[in-house]
């Protein structure tokens, strides 16, 4: 899905990068290449003192190029400034000192409930999902939780989730089609990616869209695209696509 030299993965990475501010403490977990690259992009552009935290405990790894198939591997520690492992990241969030957490999820509803647990009954599920990992404690405690998801369809965005793994300080959900913002207890359509349209978002969302006006997500700048090439030459940001 190439348009004008950038792809949906580039849009998602850049718009996430622009959600991050300088000096913020930001955490990503396992299977989280896209936010990892977005964090590195922010750090290379407007947020040099952003604090990058992760599962292996590498604070501000100077390179993410070798993360390869994993965003929880030792590579993130090898070039880091200090060791601050997962246990402590959780404690930090409990203390209200984690600014941003990147989390996943399989189902989301209009009311900001997140399901990463099961489809069907919890004790005898139709589908056992991988589990919410840190979500159930981080979404309530991180100042801002950002969810990214490379699937945007009616099975993902539903009227009501099968199971509420967690809810809380959800801030944004970034998909291949758009960005939702969670405020006043509801998901609002914040902007539509330039590669998509209101119709496409509507057709692929299982609840009625709430929005004040139609806005479009900013396209990646040439500067951002050039920086992405440099910091993510193996295109980890597209690994989930």
């Amino acid at each position: 899905m190439r348009t004008e030299g950038y792809r949906v993965s580039d849009i998602m990475t850049c718009c996430i990068s622009n959600m991050l501010q300088d000096n913020e403490t930001v955490f990503h977990g396992v299977s989280s290449h896209l936010p990892m690259v977005a964090m590195k992009l922010a750090k290379s552009m407007h947020a040099p003192d952003l604090v990058h935290l992760n599962i292996p405990g590498g604070v501000n790894p100077s390179s993410i190029k070798h993360a390869s198939y994993s965003s929880a591997g030792a590579d993130l520690l090898g070039t880091a400034e200090a060791y601050f492992p997962l246990e402590e990241v959780f404690d930090l969030s409990m203390r209200g000192k984690l600014d941003v957490a990147f989390l996943g999820g399989i189902q989301f509803d209009l009311n900001g409930n997140v399901n990463a647990s099961v489809i069907g009954d919890y004790h005898k599920p139709k589908v056992r999902l991988p589990g919410g990992a840190g979500s159930a404690v981080l979404i309530p405690t991180a100042k801002k939780a950002i969810i990214w998801r490379v699937k945007h369809d009616k099975r993902t965005f539903v009227e009501k989730v099968d199971f509420t793994t967690t809810r809380g300080n959800l801030w944004k959900i970034v998909t291949p089609l758009c960005i939702f913002e969670y405020r006043k207890g509801k998901l609002h359509l914040e902007s539509i990616h330039p590669t998509s349209s209101l119709e496409e978002v509507r057709d692929n969302t299982g609840f009625d869209l709430i929005y004040d006006e139609i806005k479009y997500t900013a396209s990646p700048t040439n500067h951002e695209l050039a920086m992405l090439k440099k910091i993510d030459p193996y295109d980890f940001r597209s690994i989930e696509f």
Partner: protein
């Protein structure tokens, strides 16, 4: 008190029904040789505990060794997809899937390391996990009167941790991310270390301050070069892509038995090297 043992003897310490916890995280430094030996010895009704597991949990689920899994996340990473044996086990009702937030596993182990029956947890204050699981309970803080969630402590009977270096007394050093392994070594009743190398006592003493697990906490030591493979082991080897990819495709127990068999020579290598010494 000779702690260095064969893999068979060490794994033989595990009883059916035990609560077992593995070191490492997803496909990193998981004690896979020991996991394979547990499957070979056909242990039953194990209660597995881990923040984030992958092939360790999936393999034992496939071989019907597992009664329950307490974990925050069970899956391979993006590239390899989902832990299908675990999923099918839970979906069929054979295995009890006790979902935690990774942090509540950590808190449950902290409770064990302090020998208290529960640990208060700040973050878990919303959603259905609280409602559906009897290992979480919300009580009133006696100091403030505010509600607070408690998670029940989990005491592993046995923790198995794979490390890069260990001496014959059990003094162990983990290079790279330690994940929850140090906590685990304090939470479990018995600690089994599998190690890439058994290094001389005099050499480990030069790095005394780097020792992550002091020997007196360790019950058994097994020399297993490549003992984390096909998971990665920092400074030693990367994930064995072929092996993981092959395993992911397996659906029958016979296929997996052959897979376990094919690892035997490698898994017992340290023992043979040890005998030669």
């Amino acid at each position: 008190m000779k702690k260095v043992k064969s893999l068979k003897d060490a794994v033989n310490l595990i009883n059916d029904g035990d609560t077992i916890s593995f070191g490492g995280n997803v496909l990193h430094r998981a004690p896979m040789a020991a996991v394979r030996e547990i499957a070979r010895q056909n242990k039953k009704s194990l209660k597995l505990v881990k923040t984030a597991g992958a092939q360790d949990i999936d393999l034992l689920c496939a071989m019907d060794c597992v009664e329950s899994v307490d974990a925050g996340f069970v899956s391979y990473e993006t590239k390899y997809g989902l832990a299908n044996h675990y999923r099918q086990g839970v979906q069929s009702g054979k295995i009890k899937g006790n979902e935690h937030a990774c942090y509540t596993v950590i808190c449950a182990l902290r409770g064990a390391s302090m020998n208290v029956p529960f640990m208060p947890v700040k973050g878990l204050n919303a959603g259905d996990l609280l409602v559906k699981n009897d290992y979480f309970v919300v009580v009133e803080d006696p100091f403030s009167g505010e509600p607070i969630t408690l998670v029940k402590s989990i005491v592993p009977d046995v923790a198995i941790i794979h490390v890069q270096e260990c001496d014959e007394n059990g003094n162990a050093i983990i290079y790279g991310p330690k994940f929850e392994d140090i906590l685990l070594s304090r939470a479990a009743n018995k600690v089994i270390i599998t190690t890439e190398q058994i290094v001389p006592v005099s050499r480990i003493k030069l790095n005394a301050e780097r020792i992550d697990i002091p020997g007196f906490l360790v019950h058994s030591i097994v020399h297993v070069p490549n003992g984390a493979a096909p998971a990665s082991c920092y400074k030693k080897y990367e994930v064995d892509d072929k092996s993981v990819a092959a395993f992911i495709k397996m659906s029958s127990k016979d296929e997996i038995r052959a897979y376990l068999k094919a690892y035997e020579t490698k898994d017992y290598l340290g023992e043979r090297m040890g005998r030669r010494l």
